[in-house]
């Protein structure tokens, strides 16, 4: 019987055949910690007896959630992590590079076939490059930092087979929101998602990152796109790995298979307060918004800002909307800058901030007051996620966000 990509990755790491359902201790190729969950992991590692990390070259450290430090306690956490990095010989990207899930792939810290863990639930994003990557808590991370391995239950796989061409101004975010709506917030719990079909092979790496990023919103442990020429092209110059073939065997056992024709997908929006409350944008069109956020690990790349700029055209943003734009990394920021888009956005009325998580998790800045409505390109709209528990967060693509920022009300991007 054949194996899924996930089973192959675990088999290679454990040097024995691993099947879905097996509980294995697997070595990891990378472990990412950031300013929110890192300090707790470091403290717990000390409780476990401290000592050296398993391999400082495989530990990725950066600060992205509360930067520049938004409180004295955040500043203290940064100091504590910097000290740990120095003591352990870990390279620390500090506050300078951007959001973890953009920086890790960008800096070549992940490659196809790897097992990477991060103390952040959206670590599943690196599946865009054909890795098995998953989010873990701080105590599990402490164990990984110390021993370089972790218990995993090898997950069954749900294969998503998406084909066809997207309509204009419809794209990967609309597809992944569609999946979240269909599969539900816990429909893929303990499973891996595998993204196949020509909609994914035609999709650029940033689009694949958007999709893999949100696998967790269905409860999934991972969301993997099989590596192809686009993957190897992205990795060229970032890593020294040479192309190899990695795909599920056709006769592999899948938990479920789902087929999608992406040409039939309309612009989608997740309405408060769950990511799986997904409807067509037209169903809530006309609702006034107070704030629009374009950015985050889900949609903070150059391509997302280019999409917003294309929708913006010669328009300006509504006087009644606060438009906050945050490129996900320094490299993406520079691309947006050099393309002249920052000037365009600022002139149109937006605030463009330096790379960080921004308003996504209601920490550093851009919080909402009771009754306020935010339209965000990020990945979660839980009650209170971006501020007051009496506020409302909607999730959409950058195109829908830009269209709504122009009109001041939720707007189908095909109509501006």
């Amino acid at each position: 019987m054949g194996l899924t990509i996930t089973e192959k990755i675990f088999s290679a790491h454990c040097k024995k055949e691993c099947r879905a359902g097996d509980v294995v201790m697997a070595p990891v190729d990378g472990a990412m910690i950031h300013d929110i969950t890192g300090p707790l992991a470091i403290n717990v590692m000390k409780e476990m007896g401290g000592g050296s990390v398993f391999d400082p070259k495989k530990v990725i450290m950066l600060f992205d959630h509360q930067i520049p430090a938004d409180s004295i306690s955040a500043a203290e956490n940064h100091v504590m992590m910097r000290t740990f990095a120095r003591e352990q010989g870990i390279h620390n990207y500090d506050i300078k590079e951007g959001v973890c899930h953009q920086v890790v792939p960008e800096k070549g810290r992940v490659k196809p076939g790897d097992i990477v863990v991060g103390s952040d639930s959206h670590t599943c994003a690196y599946g865009a490059l054909g890795a098995f990557s998953t989010g873990i808590g701080s105590t599990d991370m402490a164990y990984v930092l110390k021993f370089g391995e972790l218990y995993f239950r090898v997950p069954e796989t749900i294969r998503i087979n998406a084909n066809g061409k997207f309509q204009d101004r419809v794209g990967p975010k609309d597809l992944i929101l569609t999946l979240a709506g269909d599969i539900g917030a816990d429909g893929a719990t303990y499973r891996a998602l595998e993204f196949c079909g020509n909609a994914f092979s035609d999709m650029d790496i940033p689009g694949r990152m958007t999709c893999a990023n949100m696998a967790i919103e269905m409860g999934a442990k991972a969301g993997i796109v099989p590596p192809d020429e686009k993957t190897w092209e992205y990795l060229r110059g970032r890593t020294d790995c040479t192309p190899f073939s990695l795909a599920s065997d056709e006769e592999a056992k899948f938990f479920e298979k789902r087929n999608y024709d992406v040409s039939k997908i309309n612009p989608k929006i997740a309405v408060p307060h769950n990511v799986d409350n997904v409807v067509d944008v037209t169903e809530v069109a006309g609702k006034p918004v107070d704030q629009v956020f374009i950015g985050s690990c889900t949609n903070g790349r150059y391509e997302d800002f280019a999409e917003a700029a294309e929708v913006l055209g010669e328009n300006v943003f509504s006087e009644d909307v606060r438009v906050i734009m945050v490129p996900a990394s320094k490299a993406e920021y520079m691309k947006v800058l050099k393309a002249g888009l920052i000037e365009k956005f600022v002139e149109a009325g937006a605030l463009v901030e330096a790379p960080c998580c921004g308003p996504c998790m209601g920490g550093a800045f851009g919080l909402l007051a009771p009754g306020e409505v935010s339209l965000s390109t990020s990945n979660r709209n839980f009650r209170g996620r971006q501020g007051s528990t009496e506020s409302f967060v909607f999730l959409s693509s950058p195109a829908t966000a830009a269209a709504s920022a122009i009109t001041g009300v939720i707007t189908d991007p095909r109509e501006v």
Binding site: M48, D120, S121, G135, A142, K146, Y151, G219, R380, F382
Partner: protein, 158 residues
């Protein structure tokens, strides 16, 4: 014995402990902000021995371990739910809050007097007993060691 704190489906970790409190690590201090804004009576009134009783997908969302720590700080030893989100489940076991699966949580009312018998795997509410599903064997080894920290110490000393 303790009281049941009843919650519905898809209780996310932002509800359990909002993002703005994540620079805090002390369980008691976290507990003072648990469910802030969504269920304010919890932090004020929860006490040792109380049990959280919930629907499906408890603990979905962020990997923040502050969520089980906040519950632990409030005196919660057991969360009984129809199902759990994966990361929360592991975090809870690692930090010593036991996540227990029970399909019958709809039958337990908010405020009910409840008692969890781990050995015989049931939760008692009123005069009824509802069975709890067993914790997977490999997770039980961590529970029996007293959490992942103790498990790691045992391994480190080998």
């Amino acid at each position: 014995m303790g009281r049941a704190w009843k919650f519905g489906d898809d209780i996310d970790t932002d509800a359990i402990i909002p993002g703005r409190f994540l620079t805090i690590y002390d369980p008691k201090e976290l507990a003072s902000h648990a469910f802030e804004g969504t269920r304010n009576d919890f932090a004020a009134e929860a006490k040792d021995g109380d049990v959280i009783v919930a629907g499906r997908n408890f603990g979905c969302g962020s990997s923040r371990e502050h969520a089980p720590l906040a519950l632990k700080g409030a005196g919660i030893e057991f969360v009984v739910a129809k199902s759990f989100a994966r990361i929360f489940y592991r975090n809870a076991i690692n930090t010593g809050v036991l996540p227990l699966v029970c399909p019958d949580t709809d039958k337990i009312a908010d405020g009910a007097e409840v008692f969890v018998n781990l050995k015989e795997a049931y939760i008692e509410a009123g005069d009824r007993r509802y069975p709890l599903e067993p914790i997977p064997e490999f997770m039980m080894r961590i529970v029996e060691a007293g959490g992942l920290v103790e498990y790691a110490k045992m391994r480190g000393n080998k």
